[in-house]
Amino acid sequence: MRSKRFFTILGAAALVLAACSANTGASGAASGGGTAKSYIPVVSKGFQHQFWQAVKKGAEQEAAKENVTVNFEGPENESQVDKQMEMLQAEYDKHPAAVCFAALDSQAAIPLLQKFKDAKIPVIGFDSGVDSDIPVTTAATDNIAAAGTAADKLADAIGGSGKVGLIVHDQTSRTGIDRRDGFLKEMKSKYPNVQIIGPQYGGGDQLKSADLAKAMIQANPDIKGFFGANEGSAIGVINAVTELNKSGKIKVVGYDSGQAQIDAINNGLMLGAITQNPIGIGEQCVKAAVKAIKGESLPKTIDTGFFWYDKSNINDPEIQAVLYK
């Protein structure tokens, strides 16, 4: 009786496993490396967030075009440094033709990336990339140029003179530094009559950023515009402007998307925002990987582009494709 049950259960377990393998027979075969199609894993910083899903979509579109196989994966949240390393290790064991990688922590990943380098497997960085000289190239948003565009739009909206506030998420991350400097540089060189208040740092926290913006408005009642350098900062500014009943009087420019910014643009609270091009990031990194496999030379960085969106173009298919809610 007992042994009968035992075998029933083992049999059931075997069935479950068999079902899994049947599901994935196609990709499993491709990953074996025995077929002609090159296999390129894309190890990202996450997979659930809309932004990463868009990167995945781009990578898969490009893979279909180039006739290569990709496998997109990433840890459940951006703190799981060790899980990301396990993924990268498993991909290494599959002997891929190249790997696309966005490091959660460059320091932690370097010994493993060295193994890829030693095995002559090209590493392509994307998004924040890897802080090392191992990647042959990095496909990422040019945050300096993007923040420059934000400066242009804001300066135009206030007629090229007056006070504008700058709220940034932090002063140490690459994106924080680049967006701040890109905005400041553009304003200072092109619009000498614009006076910048800040930058102030709100940690990307909506409440904190709102408090900062409020204080800046109180201290400078004649402030004409704001730039919030990421989603949290921008939403904070919108909240501050709404709470002080200044909507319409103060022009707000944001960054990235999310439902709150999309709503704010649609109902006129926000002038517009910069969005990165996650689909382009996915496409470009796979494209670069294919070139690296063929031995073609690549630039050190690849600009994946960005878009300005406002009430006038928010419903364009091109914009809708890169916005997330």
């Binding site: 259960i9 074996g32 990433g74 320091q107």
Partner: protein, 333 residues
């Protein structure tokens, strides 16, 4: 009541049923390994086997401590973030204070022990339900890790010997080619210590006694509160060791890493045949359980199974293991 007394009167049957679950778990592990080996050439490589061993090490050590707690019919939800706090403590001591690496390692392990003792006192003295008490410490440890670290990872770049101590391979130096990192040996060493503690010492005997009938243990003169607190402290020490291991592995103390690891550890314990209602379980089972989870995760990853399905499969395996446990109990009655 009748059947309960009946079971108490048949200790041999208990031991045997335990062994059956372990055999089942072991059989399942072999089945998983054979299956992936046949379907995927990448899985069969030595490098990948090492990858699985490393992936098991940290969660395995967390699960060892959790086994003791669960055998007492308790639960410790805080081990994941206690691990984080210990890792950060090691980072603070080694990198920020510049003290020698062994001091940092000791500080990490002891931090775990102290928080574990705190759990024990909350449960044994203040009579808080273990679920609630350790849910509280989960958040306390999570927050403290962020506070102490100053919200940023602490790197061990100045002390490469720390990473090397655990990720280097002593075995590979003796037997060329057998490059099994020391972190794996540490896990097996910890498992042996845990098995001896559970099987050969009075602590182990009281751990089982607390789980099968706390009142009986109390009436026979056992200082139930003290031993219970001790078990939670032991669980904390293992979590502390896990913290040191993960810090060496990622060569940094990541203050936001670790939340959710407690569930992986608990899954390993349960798959290994330790009963959530207490009184039975084994270290060998837990080690096998931890390997089942990591081998399954690795194999599904190697086969490029979409990630969301990997999570589903792991969940199904846990449900399956618990169902087996119930079947087994039913048969005994």
């Amino acid at each position: 009541m009748d059947s309960f007394l009946g079971r108490l009167g048949r200790p041999r049957a208990l031991v045997r049923s335990d062994a059956i679950q372990r055999f089942l778990a072991f059989g399942a592990l072999i089945l998983i390994i054979v299956f992936f080996s046949i379907t995927s050439p990448a899985f069969r490589q030595f490098d990948n086997a090492i990858g699985i061993l490393i992936a098991t090490a940290v969660v395995g050590v967390l699960a060892l401590g959790e086994t003791f707690v669960i055998i007492t019919a308790g639960i410790d939800l805080s081990i994941g973030t206690v691990m984080t706090l210990s890792a950060v403590m090691t980072g603070v001591v080694v990198t920020n204070l510049g003290l020698p690496v062994p001091v940092g390692i000791l500080a990490g392990i002891l931090t775990g022990g102290v928080v574990g003792l705190g759990n024990g006192l909350l449960v044994a003295r203040l009579k808080l339900p273990p679920f609630i008490a350790t849910l509280g410490t989960l958040n306390v440890a999570r927050g403290l890790a962020l506070v102490i670290s100053g919200l940023a990872p602490i790197y061990f770049t100045g002390t490469p010997e720390f990473n090397h101590a655990l990720m280097g391979s002593l075995l590979g130096a003796i037997i060329p080619g057998l490059d099994i990192p020391n972190i794996v040996l540490v896990m097996f060493g910890a498992a042996i210590v845990a098995a001896l503690l559970l099987g050969k010492t009075i602590l182990g005997r009281y751990t089982y006694a607390l789980g099968s009938n706390e009142e009986a243990a109390r009436l026979s003169g056992v200082n139930v509160d003290a031993w219970k607190a001790g078990v939670y402290a032991l669980g904390g020490l293992f979590a502390g060791l896990g913290g040191v291991m993960i810090a060496a592995r990622v060569n940094s103390a990541q203050p936001s890493l670790g939340f959710g690891y407690e569930l992986e550890a608990i899954s390993a314990v349960v798959i290994g045949g330790t009963s959530l209602s207490g009184g039975e379980g084994s270290i060998l089972g837990t080690v096998i359980g931890a390997f089942i989870i990591s081998t399954l995760t690795n194999g599904l990853r190697i086969m490029s199974v979409p990630q969301e399905w990997q999570t589903v499969v792991t969940g199904v395996v846990v449900i399956f293991a618990v169902y087996l446990d119930i079947l087994r109990r039913r048969q005994q009655q």
